[in-house]
Symmetry: C2
Subunit: 248 residues, 2 copies
């Protein structure tokens, strides 16, 4: 049987919703998970408000195999992700002795400020997620993986966390260039092909630049043979249109 492992991303941060910062983590995690055989099914962006974070965590963690959060684990007052995760799981939160030991080596004497100690707070029972970029770890509790919001650090944490993930059968993807053929010319035929190849997912994606569309058709599925069969049917259909054999 085909093993499917699902996931959601939860981006936490006022800075994304205010437009100050453009999120780059959803797209990165989406491509990363596809590549290791985990299906991203949903993403959400919520503000730095504990009740919102808890509600989104509970909606997502009960529904998907994994939830990846980004943002809100730094040393300032607006970093409230760890507390929200502890609340969602109904566990306590305290300074982790492993992180405190790292911090004492890094910040001798008075440099270990209360703000910095905030970064040692993780929910009870969490495993730490290694951060080779800027040392302060992320953590995992249950099926929730808590990572930094800064993209380079998030990416390093995702590499660390990925080692411990269950993965499923990878989705096979084939992309067919439809070029300048308008979607409206091949849409009907493509719908027929999609209906006839039900175990694949077929999408048509226009991009628009300099006043004209370019289209790509993408076939996805877990059975490479079935994806290839759909791809051949699409290529034959496009060849007919290009050859003028199929009316507009």
């Amino acid at each position: 049987m085909t093993k499917i492992v699902t996931a959601a991303v939860l981006v936490i941060g006022d800075e994304i919703l205010s437009g100050r910062t453009k999120d780059r983590n959803i797209g990165y995690i989406a491509a990363y998970l596809a590549n290791i055989g985990v299906d991203l099914r949903e993403a959400r962006v919520v503000p730095d408000v504990e009740a919102e974070i808890v509600a989104a965590l509970d909606a997502l963690r009960t529904r998907y195999a994994y939830v990846f959060t980004t943002g809100g684990i730094g040393p300032t007052h607006d970093d409230i992700t760890a507390d929200a995760v502890a609340k969602a799981f109904g566990v306590g939160i305290d300074e982790d002795p492993r992180i405190l030991a790292m911090m004492r080596r890094r910040y001798p004497g008075g440099e270990l400020t209360p703000a910095r100690r905030r970064m040692a707070r993780v929910p009870q029972g969490a495993e730490l997620i290694d951060n080779p970029v800027s040392w302060a770890p992320g953590f995992r509790i249950g099926n929730v993986i808590v990572m930094a919001g800064v993209p380079s650090i998030m990416q390093a944490m995702l590499d660390s966390a990925a080692k411990g993930l269950e993965t499923g059968v990878k989705v096979v993807v084939e992309t067919i260039e439809a070029g300048a053929i308008p979607e409206g010319r091949y849409g009907d035929a493509l719908g027929g092909i999609a209906a006839a190849h039900g175990e694949t997912m077929i999408g048509s994606y226009p991009s628009f630049a300099e006043g004209s569309f370019r289209n790509q058709i993408v076939v996805r599925g877990r059975d490479a043979e079935k994806v290839a069969a759909a791809r051949r049917a699409i290529e034959a259909m496009l060849a007919e249109i290009r050859g003028g054999a199929r009316p507009a």
Copy 2:
């Protein structure tokens, strides 16, 4: 009284969740709405699955003043947004005579394919949203604004839709450069300032490049005087740290 108008974004598309396409619409809409005095409070990305779209629409449209959707309004079989919106509102969906008339001018004779006619389908009672880029309109029904997924087209539709929106008092934003001062050095003092300036929202945002952090502190609020007061307190605090007057 301060008028607050809230909104959510719903991005619809397998291509975002599979990692094929990087979403650029959430960030654009976030900045656009902030600029006209609408508060973006949440964003979600869902797949091309009707039940998922309907559930997300219902969760968001009952909670926020406006919901802006992107994606799924083209001519191919995977474009199911209009049907999902009709279902969410419990109304019928049919070809709109205004759009059909546009189409008949644009596609004479056999060029008006059934696929193209899909783009004429809008929920009963919807207003059309002008699309100066590629003609096929978006639509608005109730508080839901349905736009294309291609960024340049979405942006043109958002301009069209914005004319009909209620807006609130714009958030005033001031950004203070903390430069290379680590968050862990100013986090405690900043938390105190945030607590003392409760009618502002204060965030600290690191970016990380070439092995070091640069930090910015952002103050947001609807009262320019209060935002300025918080900004001055933060600047004084950073000056103390820079001058060595405040211990690490």
